[in-house]
Symmetry: C2
């Protein structure tokens, strides 16, 4: 197999889309399923999702949120109970019409999201204020038929996600929950995936169908396009009224409850690939890497091998005892150079090289994946590797922040907006708050309001489109 | 709310089926979804599944098995590629025919099991002997339309399970994998759920459609019916040939691979409920209990409360520091008696009672759920609780073993078989090995061959049905 066959054959700069696909496939994260729009996750891809799941679970649990299970089939009649919500999803719903040879009366939808089903159950489970707050999260998949070309992690007809659904007696408590969840999302994405995000509200036009308002976190990708990284919705009583999610308060008066829903999906993995990857392939932040350190022995003779392996195993054990996920590449038939390329393609954060000369010098060579820096450390300094992994994690976030900042610009003239939008980026621009202007901008430039950052209220400017007094300063961008 | 409303209103002995349903619903493990045949898992139910998942994951990982993700939709053409397999599942498949308003050409099946999809992918991923063994497990749900009445965890049209799929270069290695997985299943069910199982092979008639042979673990339930607890299949080359799962061996000769598949489902939770539950409700083995110890303070005055709570919190911290999952029931408006019933219904393995008299005596009262025994221990003996939980776990398995043994009988006359089958039980009986006799027995008694235990080959007896020379001694029983 030639180097060309296994390596990435286009540069990230030259053809971002093709580069992305090659990284996903060649790093063996995912593959296309036989049905258009669907993908399969291979172990290296799925383990990133598992790592995120474990982190979120720990944080959710501390907030009194527990996991549950909902079936995937929702009757059409139930899905249609909240009309706006239904209209929003209807065109992309997969319908089950038969079981075996039998036709099903009330067609069954494959869950595009589970509000309608969850709240049907909640209305049975909640009677009194004592049953509140009720906070359940569901790790599952959602299905929304995707007509555009499949893009692993970004545009697929079935996607892994979590959907949380909480119910509260008090409006303010529900609104606080919305924000606290968004904070958990933000911290996790920054701390685990080393990706900076901007948090704020969606505009009326862009909010979740059925929500009172939607909060969101958005990131800018290296190609200048925005990616929605997660949303947390305040549903008010929009669902509790049609679904009769009611409780008796302490005075025994029946009240409609206040609700939230929120979710992140495997898009986060797509973002991680795009933000950190380079021309050699994937670059994994250490915290989510299935293998954090790979050890590659360098030898030509069996004698050399016999000298290296005892030391190498000792180092492996030292690292494992520190809970570092380590792998020894002992494939005999492959050259060190081949192995270097292979592990760089797979994005393993840190490579240890150890050959006969290193044994003599009582040292190992460390090669960092993200900046391709090489350093040597002594056999007595192995414990430093934990710290080095932490530093890599932090450095990757800092670099991503700098790039995101470079891709964010303040725009005050609409002509400038139009001339620069083709190159992409987050555009901070004054806006009057009217959907009409938002729609015109979308029509003329392809840019949406991605997020109205918290604290961006501003009445001192003029709307980029209509020149009337501004209300806030949203971020406009073309999105995925 | 009266005691009747929340407690179990029938005895396990008098109406096992109704008792089971009440335990599932009233212990808040699960509830019926709006679509017939489907259930929702509430947090207390789902957390048992999560606990099992974590245990299996740890054991699988040590064997080099990793997790992946497969989409739920399989094209009809693909599902039909292995004909026997397809015929077996066809009557229970849910079919997706539309996405939005559009009709789909090749109808899509909701995964009844994923062999066909997994092996389509595997055939792309495997080229050489270096790619083997390939071992991937998938935690997902399978859908098989269930026409009989819904029975939570036992008979539902969608169920949580794991399906593992491995590929090997060598036949013997695949067969070894089949057995090692069955061993993991057996140990986990015994150690975590405290349920004894019998392992062995399925008969030709009862094997998985498409397998060369199926190994199984079976348990006997308190009502005398058998429950299949998990299966591990040797697929031989039955799928590798039609799906072209091939590899180049070390001599560069192309070979068809050898495969296995294996799974356990949330039936295990159903078995746990049936085996351990009693007239007061659920009884959870400590290892899988979401709460292992519940502390109920007993007080009538605020003064007493103020004396109890500091000590109670101290005990809680002591237990938490030992990684024991503990909950303090500090609900002010409910009596201790109500709380006792509530936690007994929910099956919490150990209850700590602490009142003013206990404070005086420097002791707490422990109430074990499984045998309702009460003992007192001193404040200086709190650390014993870990051991007590371990003992409960072991005792529950021992008791279950005794009951299973009582329900297992050797039968040598067919007249006895017929007269006793109504009362249920595992019947050890000689069999000639012919499907004809097996079918006749099924027809006349409703009993299947559940499992042919390993080592039960026996040519010294006469077939219970035809009186010809026996080949082995299977376990016959009526099943779920």
């Amino acid at each position: 197999m030639s180097k060309e066959d296994i390596g990435i054959t286009v540069s990230k700069e030259a053809d971002f889309s093709e580069w992305y696909t090659q990284v996903v496939l060649k790093a063996k994260l995912a593959d296309y399923a036989p049905v258009k729009g669907l993908i399969v996750l291979r172990p290296d891809g799925y383990s990133i999702w598992e790592s995120l799941r474990n982190t979120f679970d720990e944080k959710f649990f501390k907030k009194g949120i527990r996991n549950g299970f909902l079936p995937i089939l929702i009757p059409e009649s139930l899905l249609g109970k909240e009309q706006k919500h239904f209209a929003g999803f209807n065109p992309e719903v997969f319908w089950v019409t038969h079981s075996g040879e039998n036709e099903i009366g009330d067609r069954l939808a494959l869950r595009p999201t589970s509000e309608t089903l969850a709240y049907t159950m909640y209305s049975k489970w909640i009677q009194s204020w004592r049953d509140l707050p009720l906070k359940i999260n569901f790790w599952n998949t959602a299905l929304r038929a995707e007509i555009k070309a499949t893009k692993p992690f970004l545009r697929t007809s079935e996607f892994l996600w979590q959907e949380g659904h909480t119910v509260h007696a008090i409006k303010e408590e529900a609104e606080k929950e919305v924000i606290e969840i968004l904070e958990i999302y933000k911290n996790t994405v920054q701390d685990e995936l080393a990706i900076p995000v901007v948090t704020g509200k969606k505009s009326e036009k862009e909010k979740f169908v059925g929500a009172v308002y939607t909060t969101t976190m958005e990131s800018i990708m290296p190609d200048g396009k925005a990616l929605q990284m997660g949303t947390s919705h305040f549903l008010g009583q929009n669902f509790s009224i049609p679904f009769e999610v009611k409780f008796s308060d302490k005075d025994n008066v029946e009240q409609f409850a206040w609700q939230t829903s929120w979710g992140v999906s495997w898009r986060l993995i797509g973002a991680m690939i795009m933000v950190h990857g380079d021309d050699k392939g994937l670059v994994l932040p250490p915290k989510v890497a299935p293998i954090q350190v790979v050890i590659v022995p360098i030898y030509k003779s069996d004698d050399a091998k016999n000298v290296i392996f005892p030391k190498l195993n000792e180092i492996r054990q030292q690292l494992e005892s520190k809970k570092i996920r380590v792998h020894v590449d002992d494939r005999n038939e492959l050259t060190p150079g081949y192995k270097f390329n292979d592990w760089e393609l797979k994005g393993i954060p840190l490579r240890i090289e150890i050959g006969p000369k290193d044994i003599e010098k009582q040292q190992i060579v460390l090669a960092k994946r993200y900046n391709r820096e090489k350093i040597s450390i002594g056999f007595n300094e192995i414990e430093k590797i934990s710290t080095i992994l932490d530093e890599i994690q932090k450095d990757m976030l800092e670099i991503a922040k700098v790039k995101a900042k470079q891709n964010t610009i303040n725009i005050s003239e609409y002509s400038e907006f139009k001339s620069k939008i083709g190159k992409g980026g987050f555009f901070n621009a004054y806006w009057c708050g009217k959907t009409e202007c938002e729609e015109k901008i979308k029509e003329e430039t392809g840019a949406d309001i991605r997020v109205i950052p918290f604290g961006s209220e501003n009445t001192n400017g003029k709307c980029i489109y209509c020149n009337e007094q501004s209300k806030e300063t949203p971020i406009f961008a073309r999105g995925y």
